[in-house]
Symmetry: D2
Subunit: 270 residues, 4 copies
């Protein structure tokens, strides 16, 4: 049977590099390659196949050789390295950076920071190298300024309309650059996302999602489009009036299952 689209790689390569100043970069790296590997799949001929174990070695080797002070530059180095193999026609390096913040009391001591996991993905092929940025697990919550009303009602609709609810989500975003990004870009995008999450009255998760995407595109000319995924981590009012207690609407049951999932791309007009 013919082989269709295929790729292979090494995932969850855990890399930490300590700088001369004893600061650190803490990354999880995934490498993925595409190329002329039909014989590997159909005939058991491994000629030209870069072992995934070798990919792992390359990640640590380039981390040692290079300064590792820019994820775009490190990702591009990785991609270019793998494109140098004869049978490889496409390569992707996906970098996730885990946040650490300095401890006030100690030299060279850190605690896990807030602000979500940074993503940076570099892909390359014969047409060149492309960059995407992103963030995962950016947990945010608003206790005011969020409503949900005016939606469709039918015989299966039991959700009451509300003018005041908790809005909580774990932002996952991924944006495509139309030019090479600077190392400092990411923090600006993340800060724009956080500010836009909070700067408006929210009539729905969808509206807040679009607002966040729009704010990023307005502030960052180098970004072509942004894809956002916002799970709605429902906080349900807990009815305490049935216990004879005055219900001020301030006590909530935070749920994990099921959850709403809102997903959209915001892009520049043509």
């Amino acid at each position: 049977m013919p082989l269709g689209a295929n790729s292979y790689g090494k995932s969850e390569i855990r890399l930490v590099k300590v700088g001369r100043d004893r600061g650190l970069r803490d990354l999880t790296v995934d490498i993925s390659l595409e190329g002329d590997f039909e014989a590997v799949h159909t005939r058991g001929d491994n000629t030209g196949l870069v072992a995934t174990d070798t990919m792992r070695n390359v990640v640590y080797a380039l981390a040692a050789e290079k300064p590792l002070d820019s994820l775009p530059a490190f990702g591009a180095d990785l991609v270019e390295h793998f494109l140098g193999h004869e049978r490889v026609s496409g390569a992707t390096a996906r970098l996730r950076e885990h946040p650490w913040e300095g401890l006030p009391g100690g030299e060279h001591a850190f605690q896990r920071g807030a602000g979500g996991t940074r993503l940076h993905e570099v892909s390359g092929d014969e047409q060149g190298v492309r960059h995407a940025g992103g963030v995962e697990d950016l947990l945010v919550l608003r206790t005011a300024g969020s409503a949900f009303a005016g939606f469709e009602r039918d015989r299966f609709t039991t959700l009451p309309e509300t003018g005041d609810r908790i809005l909580a989500t774990a932002v996952a975003a991924r944006w495509d650059y139309r030019e090479d990004p600077d190392e400092a870009d990411w923090a600006r995008v993340r800060d724009t996302l956080l500010a836009a999450f909070a700067d408006h009255h929210s009539p729905s998760v969808q509206f807040t999602l679009h607002r966040m995407g729009e704010a990023v595109l307005e502030a960052q000319p180098a970004i072509e489009r942004i894809h956002l995924t916002l799970p709605n981590r429902h906080h349900l009012p807990y009815d305490v009036s049935r216990f004879g207690i005055e219900d001020r609407g301030d006590v909530f049951h935070a749920t994990t299952e099921p959850f709403g999932l809102i997903d959209a791309t915001v892009e520049r007009g043509r």
Copy 2:
């Protein structure tokens, strides 16, 4: 800024239905909708928006109304229900079934079964309804008949060639039907995957992946293509000779990070 592709839905709806015979179906259902929702995103106008809470209610309601003896039929009922809403142009129901097997000692008593999680996904739009099957978390392992040699070697390659290794993976597969499937199809595909995993000498995960896909397409004319993802859960020989112990190559360190990830589609020739 213009809104690009977008969808929304309810995820992780946990549904259990007990049959007249006291057997059970244990499902996790995700619903996802597409449609004319630009005003929701850009103007905060929720008119016509089906609340994700309503989606949840519909899942339980249709489960109560219908026999739920076929995942393809239940998925299609869900999709057709949501397509009945005016602004909805596309709907997807993703069903995951958790396996239970009867306990020998007891009536109506079950233990969690082996064989991975069943997937069934139904998508519909104006062009009709399409079915895909799948499996997740199908953990399999071979202690013989697996090798890895003849691959590319360069200065970053330290992996030795081996004619005898442990091959372990967690199969994730997804296949597209070109006609409506029967409820009983899934078990046949799963059994074909298991048999094909074990029926050959494996020179690489890629070869085994292709062999499994090919076996499914050969055995199941209703399937158009199959996509397989096989993480390589490496079992590294532990060198005990350095402790003065005879090394028979039979003791392994099972690792979780990093892992190889092999991904390909096998499809019918044209």
Copy 3:
């Protein structure tokens, strides 16, 4: 400040051994030691401290040297090894075995089996060696024969009484042997637990827990006491009558949070 009770060790040592017949044992091993280590904690003097890295090496080394056909024997070998170090006064080896079952189609091919994770814990000190068995993640469910009624009612009680509910739990059990166990004991205890889960009308999780513990003590004279932990994985009836659908009480919302947690020891009378 004085040092109180303390211990240290290596956790999550992932060991797989392939037998001559190409069967396998798949274990996660935790080693824990106690002893005369006050100077390590208070003066930074590591003399006599067995490195946790060395513990890991010992696990693989003894697995290579010994047949590994009995968890009680392997655990005792580990404990005796570590007690041979001068400053070690107590040692514990905790073995968890992951289940695999042979695939019908293939030689030396396996899939992850049902029946939960086996535990076996061996502890030793100057007074000798003691064995405990156990099981974790044994997921079981009954669709009939379970009720909950007659419990305390006050102004905070909203739970209705029920004569027919789903009973679902993930059994965790740990039992103490009063003599050295055979390798085959574990399967008998597990089967006794499964049979007892299903063999009675259940008026509460507590009653079922006690029944399971009693059944094990009756069937296994070598066991002194058994501790059981049963989370109550609530399956809540989903009210579909509000949608105008006949409610047969057969559709449930399976929840993960919050859950009841029932915990007790059953022991032989004096």
Copy 4:
């Protein structure tokens, strides 16, 4: 068979309360009760048994009635409520608080904060009410000032001595108060733990653990003893010299399995 020690309760009750100032408390609450419940276990007589569903209701009800500005006070209220039931002789409320920090840009908007999960546990019986504080998942790391040398060497020891390693751990601590704590105590203990993690040369995890415990007891007279669990999240130097690259010892493989686990209590002298 006689019933031994037993308890039951409700776990993972997810409670969020919004204050008048729109700040929030985000808690996961576990309730556990002991008492005269032998007939429940052995005869199926549920008289006097507080349903775990009722426990859940009580948590939300008291959260609505009370200000919830002090975890010690809220925990004590819960414990005293349950001790009021006739058959209950002991009650424990275990509160875990999830950290949120205000977003600079927005009113009433928050992101998940750093600093680990706060614990506060209140237990009560006829002898009174006792408080314990704690922290979980406090991820900390040092890039300098940590060594490991002078430990026991035998034929199974392959770990080299090092005068400079990365020290990384996820602190879990639990401390017992000998008097009722203030709400503000917890932050002081957490800050003391963080400062003590970083303020010394570390010859071992054990020494750092003891230093952290000692610092807390010195700074907090209200604390009687503290128990610390420090997993050693090993960062292994990755040897890049075999690739012909100068090895500066600054590139590490961060591992998750296996890990060292160091566990001790530090207590006041008698």
